[in-house]
Symmetry: C2
Subunit: 321 residues, 2 copies
C-alpha cells in the first residue's frame, strides 16, 4: 500500500483521525481548517521555531525506523522551545514525499510524531501534504512564554556556563548505528529528550542570563550563546559524558574529546548564569536534571580550535547524519 | 556562485541581514535565536498555518522567476490567514535545497519572500536550512485573531454564499504560461493577492458564519466550507470571471466553466452569511473588494459532478502546477 493508493484527502483524514483526542486546552481550533487557533494565557508571548528533516540527510529509510524518525523530528524541534523556556502549545507537520512512499512508513512517521506529541502535551494542529521526489518533514513548534521571560542567546563576562545532562552520547550512538548498519544489522538510535521542564525552570530563575540547546555541538553552540567578543575556556576533564564514554568512543574509532565537543544533537541545555546566581548543585535541584558547570565567560576571542567543529549544511564538516 | 560556496552559516547571516529592519512591533524577538517570540494583543489568539512549495510540483526553475516563486509562496500562505480573519504577525521559512543551487536563485527566493513580507507586514522571524536533492520551501505563517472571532469552515442551510474577486484567472494564466514555456518563451505568472483586509473585515461582521480561501478550486473549497450534508447549487452565469475570460479560455483549449469551477489557486475568499446578514453590495463596501453572491446553502448532497474536480496530491486530478 502506497500513498498514491489513498490520495491526499484520505491521507489528511487519516492524520485528522489519529490526531484527534490529543487536542489540549490550548487548542481553540485544531487540525482541519485553513489554520489552527491556539490560546495563550494572559501575559504570555508566542514562541515559534521551525525545523526540517530530510531523507538521506537527517535520516535513512534503510536503517531508521519511521516511528523513530517521527519521534526524533518532534523531540528535536521541541528542544528549541525548551531552550527558550517555553511551554509547548502545538505543532504543524508538513510532509513532502513521493507518491510511491509506503503507507507503513507514513503511518510510522505519524505514530512517532503523535507519541512525542502526547508525551510533551504538544498536539498536532495542522500542516500540509505535497508530493516530492524525496521525503522531508517540516515541523513548526509553537509555545508560550511569559512576557519578556523567554531565554535568549545572551551572556556577559563573569557569567558561569552550565550544561544539563551529558554530551557526546548521541554522536557515539550514531557512529555505532552506522557501523552496525554497514554490517547489515539493525541500528535503533536513541530519541533525544527535549529538556522542556528544565527550560521552564530556568526561565523562572532571574539570574539565568541566556540559554541555547546543544544541537550543532557544544563548541559551536557555546559560540551561539556567547556571541562575538566573548569566550569560555573549557576544561576537557569537566565535560560531562556518559559512563564508559572514552572506551566506547575508541571502539568506534572516535576521539572522545572531539566527540563530546563537536558531536552535536545532544539536545541538552547550555546556559549562562550571572555571577551571584545559583551553582550547579542548586540548579540541578531546581531543574530536576544533572547540571555541570563548564567554566566562566571571559572577554576576547577563544583560542583557535585545532579543527573546524560542528555541522554545517551546504559544505562544512563532512557528511554526517 | 552556489550555496556550497557560502555554507550554512553565511547563508543564515545573509537571510538575517536581509530580514532585519522588517521586524514590526509584534516581534519581541526576531530571526537569529533558537526560536522567535511574537507578541499578541490582549484578548487575541494565535492563528497558524503551514504550506510547502516543491520544485517541479508547485514551481519550475526553468520557467518561473525565483522572486516570483518566493512571492507566491508567502502570498498563498497568507491567504490562509486571510480566510481566518487574522492579522499577520510573522512567518518562518525553511529551505531544503541542493548544495549546487545557484546563489542567485536563493537570493531571488529571499527577495520575493521579503517583498511580500513587507507588503503585508508579516516579517520573517525564523526558519531552517537543509541540503536536499530537490528544492522545497516550507512556510509557516502566524497571525492573531480576536478570541473566538477566527472564521472557521462553517455554514448552515439558508445561509447565502459569497466570493470575493474573480475566479479562474489563475488557472487561465497557468495554461497560458505553460504554452508559452513550451514554445520557449518567458512566462511570468501573476502573484496572488491574499485578501487579508477583506478577511479582517469579515471577522468583524457578526452575520458571517464561516470562510475558506479558494485554493483547490471553487467546487472543492465550497465542499470544505459547507461540510457534509449541505450543498449550494451554483448558477454558471453568476460565477465572477475576469473580463474576456471565455474567449481567452477557448484560445488555450480550456473549458471556461470547468476552469472557473475547478481551476484553483484563485486565493479569493468564499464565505457563508446568515440569512439576515448583508448582501453583496453592502459586503463589497465593507470588504473594499468586489463580492458576488453565488447561491444559497441547502440540505442534502450536491448533484454528482460530471468530472472529478480540484487538485489532489498523491494521485487525483492529473499533473498540474
Amino acid at each position: 500500500m502506497k500513498l498514491q493508493d489513498l490520495g491526499e484527502a484520505a491521507l489528511i483524514a487519516r492524520i485528522e483521525r489519529a490526531a484527534r483526542g490529543g487536542q489540549g486546552p490550548g487548542v481553540a481550533l485544531g487540525i482541519g481548517d485553513d489554520a489552527a487557533v491556539l490560546r495563550l494565557r494572559a501575559g504570555e508571548e508566542c514562541v515559534v521555531s521551525s525545523d526540517v528533516r530530510v531523507e538521506d540527510v537527517h535520516f535513512r529509510w534503510r536503517t531508521d525506523s519511521p516511528r523513530g524518525v517521527g519521534r526524533t523530528a518532534l523531540a528535536a524541534a521541541l528542544s528549541d522551545l525548551a531552550a527558550m523556556g517555553a511551554r509547548p502549545l502545538g505543532f504543524t507537520w508538513s510532509l513532502a514525499a513521493p507518491a510511491s512512499l509506503a503507507l507503513a512508513r507514513f503511518d510510522g512517521l505519524l505514530r512517532g510524531l503523535l507519541f512525542e506529541a502526547r508525551r510533551h502535551a504538544c498536539p498536532l494542529v495542522g500542516g500540509n501534504l505535497s508530493r516530492a521526489r524525496e521525503t522531508s518533514l517540516s515541523l513548526t513548534v509553537l509555545g508560550a512564554a511569559r512576557r519578556g521571560q523567554a531565554l535568549r542567546r545572551e551572556a556577559r563576562a563573569g557569567d558561569r556556563v552550565f550544561v544539563t545532562g551529558r554530551l557526546g552520547g548521541s554522536a557515539l550512538a550514531r557512529a555505532r548505528a552506522e557501523r552496525r548498519g554497514r554490517a547489515g544489522g539493525g541500528a535503533r538510535l536513541p530519541v533525544p529528550e527535549p529538556r522542556l521542564r528544565a527550560g521552564l525552570a530556568l526561565a523562572r530563575i532571574a539570574a539565568v542570563r541566556g540559554c541555547v540547546d546543544v544541537s550543532d555541538g557544544l563548541e559551536v553552540d557555546l559560540g551561539h550563546l556567547l556571541g562575538p567578543g566573548l569566550h569560555c575556556p573549557l576544561d576537557p576533564a569537566r565535560l560531562p559524558t556518559p559512563r564508559g564514554f572514552a572506551a566506547a568512543c575508541r571502539r568506534e574509532g572516535l576521539d572522545p574529546l572531539e566527540t563530546a565537543l563537536r558531536g552535536g544533537e545532544d539536545y541538552e541545555l547550555l546556559f549562562a548564569v550571572a555571577p551571584r546566581g545559583p551553582g550547579a548543585a542548586a540548579l540541578s535541584r531546581r531543574l530536576a536534571v544533572a547540571v555541570t558547570e563548564l567554566g566562566r565567560v571571559r572577554r576576547g576571542a577563544p583560542a583557535p580550535a585545532p579543527a573546524r567543529g560542528g555541522w554545517q549544511h551546504f559544505g562544512g564538516a563532512g557528511p554526517r547524519r
